[in-house]
Symmetry: C2
Subunit: 240 residues, 2 copies
């Protein structure tokens, strides 16, 4: 009998934003795997640590920040092999995912490699998008508005096309693209109502109206929320 | 001293998908308010009931399904007044929200009415979108793809424009618009990979490939996920 792989969303940063289901599964899992960046950071583990079974084997998994090409592909192959060894030995494995596992998460690259060979369970988590909206107490989208989630690394032409006439937009993965994105949001008319939210719900949370933010790179985990749809919004409410 | 209004996301349906923070706040709140539809349904309360302080005053709030116009506006005014009476008497009020409070939630209409007059705290919740993706173990969006969330009541022309060349699309509020939406997804090429998820994470959850679904209305809480972006997906993985 193979073990089950649980992809567990641990939410945006505040450990209290884990779900009860995530906390239960982490208390039961014999093996807890978690992404480790090239600089050694293990954010998902830090978020969830209080709920991990003290007797669990901890398995750091090198996950490249780059897109799945060449070296990244080899890293995912290696990660899948390490997890599969535990699963084939009959051990249940919980793999921790920042935010939600299936919304731009790197854990999803493990799925085509492992889903054909093991039972997979996904535990959805609170995303950084809704956490950022909560931090500024402003809707992401309302009524029958289209909501567009745009990764900042997209080329200018693609972003311009999507920004045209879009009342509800969230820009993710801002990082080193900040200055370019701000210029595009000025062009599209979103800038006056836009707010930059860094590290939502963590001790490092920072909220800055777009036009007041200094030039230069932002953290990778930054989101720019642009919402000016429903009446009475877009006035820069304070954080809760 | 006025009380604090907490808008608390209770997640998509499975009571175990409440966050630890939501459970704590509901255990402490003296007044727990919750939406009640015209037919008497109180879904958010059913989801959260196990965590509500047994000594709390329960306050059903009539929330119209219609958009905020005319009678709906009057209903939100009345709801805000009922909550404000408690807040001004110094009582903390938790208002339960299905999914997340700020992603197409009706609680957001209370904000312009109450935020100027009381402290507001928003507790983000797991959305039905990530819950639906978890149910079919398939990404919502990956890499640098744009994700579009499209309300089904939008007119055909608006939906056609957004569906063109969009690899990652989620259609929400499907309800009585199902047949029309299916025709549009056939036209745009999304139909072969699209999956209908009804009542994700609840006992009534139902997963149907779009082309196998019978004609006619779906429940309001249905989502159609169309994802065919990353390699190895769009093959109809089984539910966890």
């Amino acid at each position: 009998m193979s073990g089950t792989l649980a992809l567990v969303g641990v939410g945006p940063g505040d450990p209290e934003l884990l779900t009860l289901k995530a906390a239960r599964i982490l208390g039961e899992a014999g093996v807890v795997a978690f992404p480790q960046t090239e600089t050694g950071a293990t954010l998902a583990l830090e978020i969830a640590r209080a709920h991990v079974n003290p007797a669990a084997a901890l398995l750091p998994v090198a996950i490249p920040m780059a897109l799945e090409r060449g070296p990244a592909r080899a890293a995912y192959d290696a990660a899948a092999a390490a997890l599969l060894a535990h699963l084939e030995a009959g051990r249940d494995v919980a793999f921790l995912c920042e935010g939600d596992p299936l919304l731009y998460g790197s854990a999803m690259y493990l799925l085509p490699r492992l889903a054909p060979r093991a039972a997979v369970l996904v535990v959805p988590g609170v995303t950084s998008l809704t956490a950022a909206a909560a931090a500024i107490v402003r809707p992401l989208a309302a009524r029958n508005e289209t909501l567009k989630i745009l990764p900042a690394p997209l080329p200018d032409a693609a972003l311009r096309a999507e920004l045209a006439a879009a009342p509800a937009v969230a820009i993710i993965k801002v990082g080193r693209h900040f200055d370019r994105i701000r210029a595009l949001l000025e062009e599209s008319g979103h800038a006056p109502a836009a707010v930059v939210v860094e590290h939502a719900t963590t001790a490092h949370q920072r909220i800055t109206p777009l036009r007041e933010a200094p030039a230069g790179a932002r953290p990778y985990f930054s989101t720019i929320l642009c919402y000016s749809g429903a009446e009475g919004w877009g006035r820069g409410e304070n954080a809760a």
